[in-house]
Amino acid sequence: MMPVNKTLRKIRPLKVILFGTFAFLYIPIFALMAMSFNGSHSPFILKGFSFRWYSVLMHDSRVIHGLINTLIVATGSTILSSVLGTLLAVGLHRYTKSSFLNAFALAPAIVPDIVLGIGLLALYALLSVSLGLYSVLLAHVVFSMAFVTAVVKARLAHTDKYLREASMDLGATRTSTFLRITVPSLAPAILAGALLAFTLSLDEFVIAFFTNGPTTPTLPIVIYSMVRFGVTPEINALATLLMLVSFTAVIIAQRMTRPTEDE
C-alpha cells in the first residue's frame, strides 16, 4: 500500500511537468503542420484544405537537393564531432586542470556564428581551397564538437577513475578499457551529445552560408533565401513530412531495440 502511494505521488507531478513542456514544444509545431494543408500561398491567409503544397514540394528540386545536402552535412558532422568530442572530454577530464584549456575546448560554442563564418571564409581563402559541402561539414564539426565535449564531460565527473582502475587491475589494456568500460558508461551522454550535434547542424544557417559552395546549398540556405517572398506553406509541408518520417523512425527503433541495454 505505502510504496504504491509513494510512487504515484512521485510520478504524478512529473507527468504534469512533462505534459506541460511537450505542450509548449508542440503547439507551435501543430500550428505549423496545420498550415501545410492551407490552400493559400501565405500562412496568414486561410483558404481551405489542400495537398497543393505537397505536390509543389515534390517538384521543387532545389528544396529536395538542399535536404539531401543538409542530411549529408548533419550526419557526417555528427559522427565526426561525437568521436572527437568524446575523446576530448575524456582527455580533459583525466589530464587537464587548466581552466584555460577547458574553456578553449568549449570556445567554438561561444563564438558568434557570423564571426566564425567570416573567419572560416578568410581561412579557406588563405588555403585557396574551393568551397563545397565538405567545407560546411568541417565548420559544423568544430562547433558541434564543443557541445558533445560539454555534455560528455558533464557526465564523467566521478565514476571514471574507479571504473578504469578496476578494469586495469583486472588486466585490461587502456584501449580495451576505454572501449569496453568508459564508452558504454558514457553512452547516454554521447547519445545526448550526438542528438544535439545533429539538431544544431540540421538547422545551421549563418556558418553554412559563408562556407558552402555556390552549387551545394543546404536546406536552411534554400529556405532563408525563399523568404524574400514570405514563407510559403511549402516549407510547412516539408517540415510536416520530416516530422512524420522522424517520428516513424523513432517508433520503429523503439519496437526493435530491447529495452534493457541501458547500464
Binding site: G85, V90, A103, I110, A146, R155, L195, T199, F205, I223
Partner: protein, 298 residues
C-alpha cells in the same frame, strides 16, 4: 614490496603511457579547434586594428579608434539589454528544463530515449519556420487572440508580439532542448538510492535536493545554462521576427557591422569583446564547477 628501481621504471613507463593517452584523446580535438576556430578568429582579430576602406574592405593602416568607438553608450546599452534578455531566457529555461529533464530520467528506460527524441524533434524543422509559427499564434489576428475572444475572455486583441517578452519566449522555445539534454545526461547517472538514503537519514526533500541532487547535477546545469545563454546573446533572427526589429541585441549589432556597414574592423572589435566576455564567464564557470565537484565528492 617492490624494489625502488622497478617502481621508478614502471612509474616512468606509466607516465609515458599517460602522455601518449593524453595525446590520443586530446590531440585530434585540439588540433581541429586550432585550425578551424582559433585560426579563423585570429584572422578576424587582425582586422580589428585596421581601418574600413571607403567602400568596405580593409585599409591596412593601424588604429585604436575601433576600440574607443565600442565604448559609445548606444553599444553599451545594447549589450546590457542583451545580457538581460539572455539572462531571463536562461533562468526560465532552467525553471522548465530541470523538472523536465528530471521527469524524463525517471521514466521507464524504454520511454526515455523516445522522450529525448521528442524533445529535440521540433527542432528538426527549420528555425525560421518555427519562429514564424509563433507569429501565427501570437499576432493580433492570430490563433490565440481569436480563441480568447471567442470565449469572451478578452474583447479587444492583445498585443502579444513585438515586445521583449515575445523575444524571450522565442529564444526559450529555440534553445530549451539545449538545456534539457545536458541536464538529462547528468541527472540520469544519479543513483536513486542516494535520495532514499538521505531520506532515511532524516533529510527533508528540499535539503536532500540542495545538498545532494543539485551539486551532483551542477555540471549539467552549468553546461545547459551556457548552451542557452550564449546563442540567445548572439541570436539576431528572433529579435527581428518576434521583436519586430524593435529590440536590438548584440548579435544584430555584430551582424550589422559585418554585413550592413561593411565595417569589418569595428565588427571584429564588437565580436572580440563579446568573445572575451563569454570566455571569462567560461573560466569562472570552470573554477566553480571544480569547487562544486570537489564539495560533492567529499
Amino acid at each position: 614490496m617492490t624494489s625502488p628501481i622497478r617502481t621508478r621504471v614502471s612509474r616512468d613507463s606509466e607516465k609515458r603511457r599517460d602522455l601518449l593517452e593524453r595525446m590520443v584523446l586530446q590531440g585530434p580535438g585540439f588540433l581541429f579547434i586550432t585550425i578551424f576556430m582559433a585560426t579563423p578568429i585570429t584572422l578576424v582579430a587582425i582586422y580589428s586594428i585596421f581601418q574600413r576602406g571607403r567602400f568596405g574592405g580593409i585599409v591596412y593602416k593601424a588604429t585604436t579608434e575601433n576600440f574607443t568607438r565600442a565604448l559609445d553608450p548606444v553599444y553599451l546599452g545594447v549589450l546590457t539589454d542583451s545580457l538581460k534578455i539572455a539572462g531571463i531566457t536562461t533562468v526560465l529555461a532552467i525553471a522548465i528544463g530541470y523538472p523536465t529533464a528530471y521527469a524524463i530520467a525517471k521514466l521507464p528506460t524504454k520511454w526515455r530515449s523516445i522522450a529525448l527524441v521528442l524533445v529535440v524533434m521540433p527542432f528538426w524543422t527549420n528555425f525560421l519556420i518555427r519562429t514564424y509559427s509563433w507569429i501565427m499564434l501570437l499576432n493580433r489576428e492570430g490563433l490565440l487572440n481569436h480563441a480568447l475572444m471567442k470565449f469572451n475572455i478578452i474583447h479587444t486583441p492583445l498585443d502579444l508580439l513585438y515586445t521583449q517578452s515575445a523575444v524571450v519566449v522565442g529564444l526559450l522555445y529555440g534553445y530549451l532542448p539545449l538545456m534539457i539534454l545536458p541536464l538529462y545526461a547528468s541527472i540520469e547517472r544519479l543513483d536513486p538510492q542516494l535520495g532514499e538514503a538521505a531520506a532515511n537519514l532524516g533529510a527533508t526533500k528540499a535539503r536532500a535536493f540542495f545538498s545532494l541532487t543539485l551539486p551532483l547535477t551542477a555540471s549539467g546545469l552549468i553546461a545547459g545554462s551556457i548552451f542557452v545563454f550564449i546563442p540567445s546573446l548572439g541570436n539576431f533572427i528572433v529579435p527581428e521576427l518576434l521583436g519586430g526589429g524593435k529590440t536590438v541585441m548584440v548579435g544584430n549589432l555584430i551582424r550589422d557591422q559585418f554585413l550592413k556597414a561593411r565595417d569589418w574592423p569595428f565588427g571584429s572589435v564588437l565580436a572580440l569583446s563579446v568573445i572575451a566576455l563569454v570566455f571569462i564567464f567560461f573560466m569562472l564557470q570552470n573554477a566553480v564547477e571544480k569547487r562544486f565537484s570537489s564539495d560533492a565528492s567529499e
